[in-house]
Amino acid sequence: MTTAIQNVENYLGTFTEFEKRATGRALPWLRQLRENAFARFCETGFPTTHDEDWRFTNVSAIARTAFSLPQKGTLHLSNRDLNAWRTETTAAQLIFVDGQFALELSDSSNLPERIVISSLKEQIMKQSGTLKAHLGQYLDTHRDSFCALNTAFAEDGAYVHVGRGRVLEAPIHLLFISTAADKPRMIHPRNLIIVEDEGQATIIEEYVSLGTGIVFCNSATELIAGENATVAHHMMEREHTEAFNVSTLRIQQGRSANVASHSILLGGGLVRNNVHPVLAGEGGECLINGLFVGNGRQHLDNYMHVEHASPHCSSRQFYNGILDGHAHGVFHGRIVVHKDAQKTDAKQTNRNLLLSDNAQIDTKPQLEIYADDVKCTHGATIGQMEENALFYLRSRGIDEASARRLLLLAFAGECLERMKSGSARDHAERLIHEHLFAASYGMPRQDVVDGNEQELQHAGSWEEVG
């Protein structure tokens, strides 16, 4: 706890400074929201591995680093810098540089009526009533100190409001770019996405790095899906390996709403991705789909907290992990079925491919069921690359490196297949392929080639662990 206390003192100074100049400091409700959250953060500090939710992820590296907020208004990026990060077809693209909205780099023109896409800051300045009604209403700042910290520093991020019955075919791309940091820097992007009844939208929330340096990105997104709304959210983590990335997606689903959350973790050094849907209305459906690909010393933690609060809802969690080198993956799938949520249908599957002897996966299902008429299943598998499949491909003339790549793409492809086709999926597919091709994932190492054929021989059957 000493670390936590010391660190909280660091944050106290930063918060006091922040409050003096923060956008919306004059709005009592917002000031209160920030102050309450900060007070809660001070009470709890950063979690330790004694905390059940953080058993497999040690955040002391974050806790002991003195981060500072980025300086305001110093953007050195041009449109040309961004070409590599743009996606093909989007309804709008909002660019955030070191957590701050970059209007000149963004494009949210030509939007249909009753669809608002802007920065959160703009909505604060406008004193938007919708913002006040929703911001901070869903995120669990009490339980999660990262969410509390985010709320304390909530000032900028994306604001998306899709009106009743409005349908956006093309995705909204939210791109968060971290530039080079000469000293440790933190950002707390805060997004609010509201899709009203019968509305439809796809959101890509993507984190990338331009330049090196220690960055701590602690983002939080509240996504409200109204009755019968259809929403897809894509989280793409592609930062460099010096980055700490903690993100939380809190979904509030209305009656018969259909929400899909896709998390693709490719980059980042220490990554924690929280997905927390609450199925609050009857007949809601939620898909929580993910792929995490780690190498080197990456630590990729996927934490799900699926709350069934109403009857006749279904949730599906499917996560595939590919781990090489000394990478450490975590899948922690918590399903809570409330007392009245009868006829709940919840399923959880985690499949992992370990490509080296030093890679590690912790997979943990956690079911808390307070209703009596429910269907909940979970399963996890850990395996190596299928030796039979590899031999089969090679016996047809495909060289070993290509055969391994094909099998990896196929394994990763399971995650892609669960996405609806369209440009968001194409974007994810392209990035996953590039990533798997760039790094020679799963190739036999030089040090085991020394006459040690065993490496290639241990059978690749799936092992049930949960």
Binding site: N388, F391, S395, A403, L406, L407
Partner: protein, 258 residues
């Protein structure tokens, strides 16, 4: 010159000697059948020729088209013209059949210094082969062997063989688990590929398949050794008298190599 020359081949799997000195010569244009009871080493021989790495060669040599086959990786052997139809074809979720087959064909073409085949050229040839094996094109949109029936899997093996046009085709118990209709289709596919340029090694437990694919030579493998060789009539003799008599004979007259 023989296409395939196996000399004194000894193979061990997980410490057990399975093949105890195999000698076999196969010329282009010939169809040889390897028959034998369970555990005699038939499949091991097929797998070694396809270069499965789990099998350890402790003595002997294999020349394929004059080259050292045992020095080749599986993909090299395939590119040189060796093809094995698997006894248990592998399901590979996530990789489409057509994509897989075109990748394989192009890998082989590339190895031989030929141009890769684009989809436009590939498809008409592919459709013709599908027709030969009486396979539904829809199956090809699925992942490799995924959700295929046993018969469909075996036909898919022969389809791959028809597309890849190997110099040496090894059929590893392709008949096992097939009903008579599927067997006829498979045999038709195989027979269509018989040519003076190509050799075939038909590994089977039962004589039944050899009614449809008539071999030039039959070899009986017992306990890791070829104990008898003869013409197609040997298969019929086996069918009538069973392996037991041959095993007994082998015990008396052929203690070492043949």
């Amino acid at each position: 010159m023989s296409l395939l020359e196996i000399r004194n081949l000894h193979v061990t799997v997980a410490g057990h000697e399975i093949l105890k000195g195999i000698d076999l010569e196969v010329k282009a244009g010939e169809v040889h059948s390897i028959m034998g009871p369970n555990g005699s080493g038939k499949s091991t021989l097929a797998q070694v020729l396809a270069r499965r790495e789990a099998y350890q060669v402790t003595a002997g040599e294999v020349l394929f088209d004059g080259k050292d086959l045992l020095a080749m990786k599986p993909e090299e052997a395939a590119c040189e013209g060796v093809f094995m139809a698997f006894q248990y074809p592998v399901e590979i979720p996530g990789i489409g059949n057509t994509y897989f087959l075109r990748s394989a064909l192009n890998a082989i073409r590339k190895y031989r210094g030929e141009d890769e085949m684009d989809a436009m050229d590939f498809l008409p040839m592919f459709r013709e082969k599908l027709k030969l094996l009486e396979m539904d094109e829809k199956l090809m949109n699925r992942s490799v062997n995924e959700g295929f029936s046993g018969g469909e899997k075996k036909r898919n093996e022969i389809l791959q063989m028809a597309v890849l046009q190997p110099k040496l085709a090894i059929l590893d118990e392709t008949d096992s688990g097939l009903d008579i209709d599927a067997l006829r289709i498979v045999a038709k596919g195989v027979n269509a590929m018989r040519s003076t340029e190509r050799a075939m090694l038909v590994v089977t437990h039962y004589q039944r398949l050899l009614n449809y694919i008539v071999p030039d030579f039959v070899h009986v493998l017992v306990d890791g050794r070829i104990v008898r060789s003869g013409g197609a009539e040997l298969a019929l003799e086996l069918e009538q008298r069973g392996y037991v008599s041959i095993e007994a004979q082998a015990g008396q007259t052929a203690p070492a190599s043949v």
